[in-house]
Amino acid sequence: MNKRIFISLIAFFLITGCTADIDYESNDSGSASEKIVNTKSSTADQNALLIKLTSPLNDDIQCKLESLGVKSISPVFTSFKGKEEMEIKYGLDLWYKVTISDHDIEKLASDLSLIDEISTVEYNNKAAKASDCIVYPYDGNPITSLATKSTTTFDDPYLSDQWNLKNLGNASIATTAYKGGDVNVYDVWNSLTTGDPSIVVAIVDEGVKYNHPDLQGNMWVNSKEYNGKKGVDDDGNGFVDDIYGYNFVSNGDITWSKTGDSGHGTHCAGIVSAVNNNGVGISSVAGGSGNNDGVRIMSCQVFDGNEGGDSYTIAKAIKYAADMGASIISCSFGYKGGAYLSDGSYKSANGVEMDAIDYFEATKNNSVIDGGIAVFASGNDGDPYATYPGAMSDIISVSAFGPDYLPTYYTNYGPGCNIVAPGGEAYLAPWTTHKALILSTVPCELYDDNYGYMQGTSMACPHVSGIVALGLSYAKKIGKTFTVKKFKELVVTSANDFDKRMIGTKEYYNNAHSPLELKNYMKKMGTGSIDAWLLMMKIEGVPCLLAAAGDRQWLDISPYFGTSSVNLTYTGIDISDKDKAAIGLSEDPYIEYGRLYVYPTKIGSAKLTVHAIGGGSQLGGDDSIGGMAISQEISIVVRSFKSTSGGWL
């Protein structure tokens, strides 16, 4: 439909000489100035604006737009067969891109805001990748002194250089390397899951080099296009030759080696799902076991050389991910630090993206959860708050730690940061290699190597995306189902205590960076560090807490909130009168130092719901930036006694 509309609308403007009157006096759809929801950044599109209509496009609106000098109008989103109802529900059918030539874009925005049928006028601003985009090619010298092979069956030769997957505290990586400071995925691989090809992760980023020898086997493939004719939209989804995804910048083939490209998308893809156990290169979080069973990577290219990264492109890519089967979008980008400091300000200024994200989160693409999960980088400005969109309170935003299991010098922290994962870090002593950064796949066209090191919350983000994908794979395997909200809560509470080491200062080799005062990060790194094993255990189910009747006692709630439960901010407990009576609670339960106080006087069982903030001390909202609201329902079984080991006897 859309291409036809697009062409016919252009033709319409050229052929017809329609005129329209814009009533500059009366404006019923809100104040004109309020309709322009953001300010034009220096990198904003100078020739286009994004508008949202109050009702579907009609001749009258077209005429009004033409009278303002609009050159063309086209739908932002490509309608997908069978999804029309959802597109309307989330307002995607009302978004249009208008382009002009030889016209003052700010004047046009002002004029558009006077049209009653337009509710929103957005400048098409640009986001930036959450990495310095510096790649250090792999030095081809894997660590062999500390064998990791004994604990896993994977034969990927560079696995021993991936501290992010198994940190052995090797001082040659960093003299301060911290054993266990990783994502704790080995046991998951060895006994639970290594991925599932039905779970698709969309890398919304630079193009992924889909024919990379360590990625090719785990690329999502659109079989109709793969088996179709070149230059033809074989599956009729509005995109031509979208075999491994699509380039939303050029509207063409996926690319990764233009001037301005860094391999950022390929690097992120490798962290999520480079093929495991193939005797080649690296291992990845959810790359399978070498039996074609890794989660799949879809390349949704929004950066192309020096182009792209704008709201229009990002929004289109996110909708495509939803329509074509992705369950997770891994988004290692964000807006300039401080551009938005509340959920409300982001939502109102980036409605087109927000509508696309909402649509994605509502699209069910697997049997496990009832929608999609968005994961974003928290940003690399070293700011005490996350960048948006990741900072949205209901989106998972990932900060970064280094091989020393401490915050990195670049990571954002504080409100909006939900969890922390390995991001790699330069300048850690002895700084004789680059192994303290994150090793992953890169395009050889750029670096004469298929592997390289990068750092950034951009790298932390796909670790969490991969673990979410592993979680969905495992849930599918054992037949569990969840809501999106519940699954996100499981993810952000599958965390280890990250605050216990926030003491003293962190210094850099040769003073390459000023020391970090670690106390500044205390309670500001989300719920703690992501732990793949903990997530799998939560997916299996969390046992009831056992309590003894007649005792005042404090119950450990870390099985529900992670080992950093002591650091979380708790906002309340709900328990019904019936449940209180069931175990004879004469005093209200409360949380202190991460433990649940109860005084049951009767044998029985009860459920209560504990509310907490996933990252930071305040919830994000229309007027604030903050953490995610998380709730855990806790079951308590009260008997006349309890064993300290937790056993039944």
């Binding site: 044998i603 079984v637 006897l649």
Partner: protein, 137 residues
């Protein structure tokens, strides 16, 4: 008249119990009968059963020449089967044990058999609780 009837019924019940083949196990007999794997099938106190929670408990008592070991698998609530191991001791009909982390069981139990495949464990400390296990192996 009604009281007399109740007393008669009670008397007959007591006699029936005394004359029935209810096994009065010696310690050796009890020890032998205890070996095997048991599944919790019922538990109650005088006032309340444990509400809505699904509780699955399997205990395997393993005899040994020097120590007796047990393997306890439990799923309390919506969780997975969690395994605990340790050692156990039977003294007369008093069953006690220690988990492998060195902590003692939360209670000591009086054990009795209603038949070869049905075991009753009653707590001795605190409010009386009675657990019925069926042999599964």
């Amino acid at each position: 008249m009604a009281i007399m009837k109740k007393i008669s019924v009670l008397f007959l019940f007591v006699v029936a119990v005394m004359l029935s083949g209810c096994k009065k196990a010696t310690n050796d007999d009890l020890y032998s009968l205890l070996i095997g794997e048991w599944e919790l099938v019922d538990y109650s106190t005088k006032s309340v059963t444990i509400g809505e929670e699904q509780v699955s408990v399997f205990i395997a008592f393993i005899g040994g020449t020097t120590t007796n070991e047990f393997s306890l698998r439990q799923n309390i609530g919506d969780g997975y089967l969690n395994t605990f191991t340790g050692t156990w001791t039977l003294s007369d009909n008093m069953l006690s044990g220690v988990y492998s982390d060195g902590t003692a069981w939360g209670n000591t139990y009086v054990v009795s058999m209603t038949d070869d495949d049905t075991m009753i464990m009653e707590t001795t400390v605190g409010t009386a609780e009675k657990y019925t296990y069926k042999r599964i192996e």
